[in-house]
Symmetry: C2
Subunit: 194 residues, 2 copies
Amino acid sequence: MTNSKALARERLVSAAADMISRRGLSAMSIRELAKHAKAPLGSTYHYFPGGKSQVASEAIRFAGNTVAQALTEALEAGPVKGLRHFLGLWRDILIRSDFQAGCPVLSVATEEPAGEEGLAALEIAAAVFDNWESLLRDSLQLHGARKAPAAKLATLILASVEGSIAMCRARRSIKPLDDISSQLEFMIQLAISK
Amino acid sequence: MTNSKALARERLVSAAADMISRRGLSAMSIRELAKHAKAPLGSTYHYFPGGKSQVASEAIRFAGNTVAQALTEALEAGPVKGLRHFLGLWRDILIRSDFQAGCPVLSVATEEPAGEEGLAALEIAAAVFDNWESLLRDSLQLHGARKAPAAKLATLILASVEGSIAMCRARRSIKPLDDISSQLEFMIQLAISK
């Protein structure tokens, strides 16, 4: 695949992730995706012969990898800096979309899987949550937290970030995400100073 | 309205809340609701002349009030007992539905509102989150927490509970919800002992 074709394909996958985060998986269609990405309908079918199921799986995986890469880099400066970057990333998505977009993995995880495409997407969503959580957990352990508390704190961080994304969208306000940050930083400091 | 009619109506509202928690708001329809609640389609239109928009608004409000009532009662024994009851309530919904159902307010909050019915539902979702959060906050304050930290901790509790509901559904496991509980209890003890 040439570079420009690979870029066009990635733009579609990225647009699908954005769309799933806005409307959920069941409300997403190839036709709407083409419109959303301002791409010809034919090219969408060309790049994704597996249809919606293929697009959805790739979109969740893409979102998972994009966030994981940014989180991995940010965690190199320690778990507190990593957390700040993680929160900043969702903050940007919420504010730039006027609270219309959020986390596509959260959207998939709050929908009963419809058919095989739903089940596949849900399995990928679970793997993405696992991945983000393990990045947080490993960083906490690397900086001195014990294994079991590090794992539980990583769950608390991810759960409260995902939950606050939903609260921010309902309220059209960034306050819930901002309000959890200092408390999570406190918990991290406590875990790594033990 | 006679008692049996009021009961039939409430059964439909309750079924709608369950359905929204499973599939989201946009995937819910009056036809599917009648099927889900094993009620005649005609009765559904009879009780809800405003259609899907009316059912959705009432369903989110119903779920909000049901949880608020249980939470208020449980918080009478203090914020830790209240939290345990709140977690237990979601635990039951997740396990009994084999991780297919969750929180209808979370579902509405993760969907871009489609048309007026979506906007109305989203506004009610925001009000329900506010209500649950203020019940937690007031209980924390009543038991000795200072105002600002009590409000922030209430946000953290609600955000992490909602986020862990999504994580439990993705993983088909109750572990995320169980893993946040002792950490939230610790934060509560810390806030009220200051």
